[in-house]
Amino acid sequence: MLNDQGWLLSLALFMPLIGAAVVTVVPKDREGLTKQIGVFFTGVTFLLGVVVAFGFDYSRSGELQYETTVNWIDAIGARYHLGIDGISLPLFVLTGLLTFLCAIYTTKIIPSPGKPRAFLALMMLLQTGMAGTFVSFDLVLFFVFWEVVLVPMYFMIGMWGGPRREYASVKFFLYTLFGSVFMLVAFLSVYFAAGDAGIANPWDIVELSAAAGLGTSTFQTFAFLGIFLGFAIKVPMWPFHTWLPDAHTEAPTIGSVLLAGILLKMGTYGFIRIALPILPDGAMRFAPLIGVLGVIGIIYGSLACLAQTDVKRLIAFSSVGHMGFVMLGISAMNEVGIQAALYGNIAHGVVTGALFFLAGSLHERYHTREIAEIGGGMLTKMPRYGALLVYVSMASLGLPGLAGFWGEFTALWAARSPAEALVANGYSGLYLGLVIFGAIGTVLTAAYFLWLIQRVGLGTPSARWRDEPLADVMTVEWVSWTPLMVIILVMGVFPAVIFGVQQDAVTNLMVFITG
């Protein structure tokens, strides 16, 4: 069977690293060749991802497939343990797809100051880091991949970013680092608790989850707090989100697409894969807090969006709101909630990734992202581009029939009847409140997107742009955007494509979380 060929997963994971190495040895003046190599390697990586998905046994999607286990650091018993199950698979494939599309987009549009070699090498290094977090089943390995992401993203924002790139890139780096060191402390205390509990491989995520709760309840609370800080900053949850708008505003288009599309997903994935199953008591205790912070994020994000004048910053704040829905799903601590969170995760990756592509191209054309300066009339000036913007905005505000809807709807639905333990502790009233405010948030989300479309899409072009030759969607943009547009529709019409894949894995996970 294909799905016990562990090497295939490793190959798919490290292919971008090979690509990065190859790109760096291309002569400096061969820019065209550099970009082709970038497309080639990300394309091969994506194909390998497709092969992995093809060979995946969907009838056993709750189990780890393509498993590899090799001893790595003997002194601490860390192992190179890779695998993929129904939760990891969509995220892994999404990583391959988005990076491939970014490489295609880069062939024609590369941010100043150019340097495609360095740009593509960093992008592929970033890809390995991101993809690695989704398939690592050893806490140390997970942590390493988690940290690998920092440096390329720092350089991406720092070298190709906007005017305030120094501030934004350092803020991104320090913020994330701060969280991840807390996380490391928590991981290590889990490791020692697991050693005391007699677990054979105390770093192994599978074995740790199966242990069904380590240490005392106090231990779990503190360990969860450490892990919570690491993941909450990455998600980002309100009030740890302040790095995000700055990073997105300054990052180049590709950086924003990957940041919103995949990087943020690492945080929610970490909650679901690591924090909840390994520390169920701590998670149960923190769940109401997560829910409240999530809903504050929803309301705050949408209110902040209403106040933004910069299109890209608006999309960045909309991420805070959307990730709030994902966290609300997690806080319900039931099967529907986890499903909703994972679904919303992927939907947000696709939709917001597409939105950032659109925002980048907007800047390419208007050389500004100020809503007031752009004025109205995009639908008459650039009808195809305008239509795409409307389409993706609709998906993002949660229009039924498009991808964004299911994540938000099911999250609210799940929070309506949270886990029994939460109800028993008298939190049902709180969760009802969360659902109500979350629902208000969906209305606000619709409001700011519709207002955005009204301001830039409708009406007639202003005098400044009326006679400017603004190109409509270019070929390279069609190529790199069409897959996302199709996925948005497919996920909206057949949500089962994602829910079905995840089902067994989530069911297994719930056993660990609620016993």
């Binding site: 002194a75 350089f155 680092l177 290590l188």
Partner: protein
């Protein structure tokens, strides 16, 4: 009492090399004097060979005052590899400066001789001799650029403070001998037991005095103030030696006195060391933030690094062998992982400084365009010092936090908190240098950077080491994790 010459072979080889270097320098004239560098390197390689041949053995000699064990072997390998790297970055620097080449290499080898003895010494007097053998050549080396006022200031500061610290330490040792009637470390540990829970105040004072003596060597706050001036004024390879090897030797001595001799009173010195650790890392990082001179930045950063290395001492628990062992192993791993990028960072500064004399952070502007290899190397080293991937520095932080989580005491959690805050602060200035190198345009008419072959090879090797050890940290940790401090001692 027969002497086990096999056990002291590395030290003998280094002694012989030092003498040969001094003689050869007398005989040779002019450019031929450069030959002393390869001679010293050959000596270091031979010593390294003998050290590795002692791998896994446990021997003692000189009446149990000198031990060879896994622990000492790991330390000696760190020292000898550092020596080779420092020889590599020294060649051009001294060959072009044309001053005192023979003397420099003789002093350098002598200092390293003291370092090799340090981890093996199991007697307060031998420790004292080793410490002096490290320090005295250091004073002279710091002042080698004798036409430079800064260099003279560096030497005199280093000398005065070094002498005071030695005096304090000797005072402590003499009182310790008065109380326990022995200078043997294990003997002291046994003898200390007789006071139980109520030791006389003077005994504790003498214990702290001995620790303070080492505190100067490792530039722990508040005994640090010589370090930045001395590093900035010394010839740069000497600064690298002081920041890495000499400091590691100080830690080797400190481990011996605290974890072996004073182990019964860990509840007295561990909190004191924890306070020192917190002060050292916090002050070092905060002052490093303000620096504009690259060497001073590295100097303060190395003060902060000493703070991280002190954390394991704060974790010690009297009688808990598992926690103490983990603490020593974490410190050993940290020292090994820190030596590589720190020598490398000094190497890059030497490369940029060479011929041009530039050393402020602004002079590194646009290094990514002017000399991409050096910029990549410097970025890697700085990321490693901070503890970010893809570098071995990540595992160094990991090792310290691991020891902290294993100890699990209140002190440990407080230390972890400070470690987290300080790693964030540290990145602020490390990243600023990275930023300047890659994202700032170089000044017009700035002289090109020509590192020279040796320096490039050493730098490349150190970059490779930093990255390879990131992927396979087991190469260090397999060695450090089986070290047993007390074996044979």
């Amino acid at each position: 009492m027969a002497i086990d010459f096999g056990a002291i072979a590395p030290e003998l080889v280094l002694t012989a090399t030092a003498i040969v270097v001094l003689l050869v320098d007398l005989v040779l004239k002019g450019d031929a004097k450069q030959l002393v560098n390869p001679i010293a390197a050959i000596g270091a390689v031979v010593a390294l060979g003998f050290t590795i041949s002692l791998w896994g053995q446990e021997r003692t000699t000189f009446g149990d005052t000198f031990v060879v064990s896994q622990y000492t072997t790991v330390f000696k390998i760190i020292f000898l590899v550092s020596l080779l790297a420092i020889l590599g970055v020294s060649w051009r620097y001294f060959a072009e400066g044309r001053y005192f080449q023979g003397e420099y290499y003789f002093l350098l080898l002598t200092a390293f001789l003291g370092m090799l003895i340090m981890p093996s010494a199991r007697d307060l007097l031998l420790l004292f001799v080793a410490l002096e053998t490290v320090s005295l050549p250091g004073f002279a080396m710091a002042g080698l650029r004798k036409r430079s006022l800064y260099s003279s200031e560096a030497a005199i500061k280093f000398f005065l403070i070094g002498v005071i610290s030695v005096a304090l330490m000797l005072f402590g040792i003499s009182m310790m001998y008065g109380f326990t009637g022995t200078t043997s470390l294990t003997g002291i540990a046994q003898s200390l037991g007789q006071w139980g829970d109520s030791p006389p105040a003077l005994l504790l004072a003498s214990l702290l005095l001995v620790i303070v003596g080492f505190g100067f060597k490792i530039s722990a706050v508040p005994f640090h103030f010589w370090a930045p001036d001395t590093y900035a004024g010394s010839p740069m390879p000497v600064a690298a030696m002081l920041a890495v090897a000499s400091k590691a030797a100080g830690f080797a001595g400190l481990v011996s006195v605290t974890f072996i001799a004073f182990e019964p009173y860990a509840e007295v010195w561990a909190p004191a060391m924890a306070v020192l650790a917190i002060l050292t890392m916090t002050l070092g990082n905060l002052v490093a933030l303000q620096q504009r001179d690259m060497v001073r930045l590295l100097a303060w950063s190395s003060v902060a690094q000493a703070g991280y290395m002190l954390i394991p001492f704060g974790l010690a628990i009297s009688g808990d062998a598992a926690v103490n062992m983990a603490a020593v192993q974490a410190m050993l791993f940290y020292i090994a992982a820190y030596a590589i990028p720190n020598i490398g960072a000094f190497g890059v500064v030497i490369a940029v400084n060479r011929k041009t004399g530039y050393r402020s952070i602004e002079d590194f502007a646009g290094l990514g365009v002017r000399q991409p290899f050096m910029a990549i190397a410097m970025s890697t080293f700085l990321l490693s010092l901070g503890g970010a991937p893809p570098t071995v520095g990540l595992w160094a932080k990991f090792a310290i936090i691991q020891a902290g989580a294993q100890a699990g005491t209140t002190i440990a959690w407080v230390l972890m908190g400070f470690l987290i805050i300080n790693s964030v602060i540290a990145f602020f200035y490390y990243l600023r240098v990275v930023w300047v190198m890659w994202m700032q345009a170089p000044r017009d008419s700035i002289a090109p950077v020509r590192p020279g072959l040796n320096l490039s090879i050493v730098t490349a090797a150190l970059v490779a080491g930093t990255v390879v050890l990131f992927v396979l940290p087991g190469l260090i940790s397999d060695a450090t994790s089986i070290t047993d401090l007390l074996a044979g001692g």
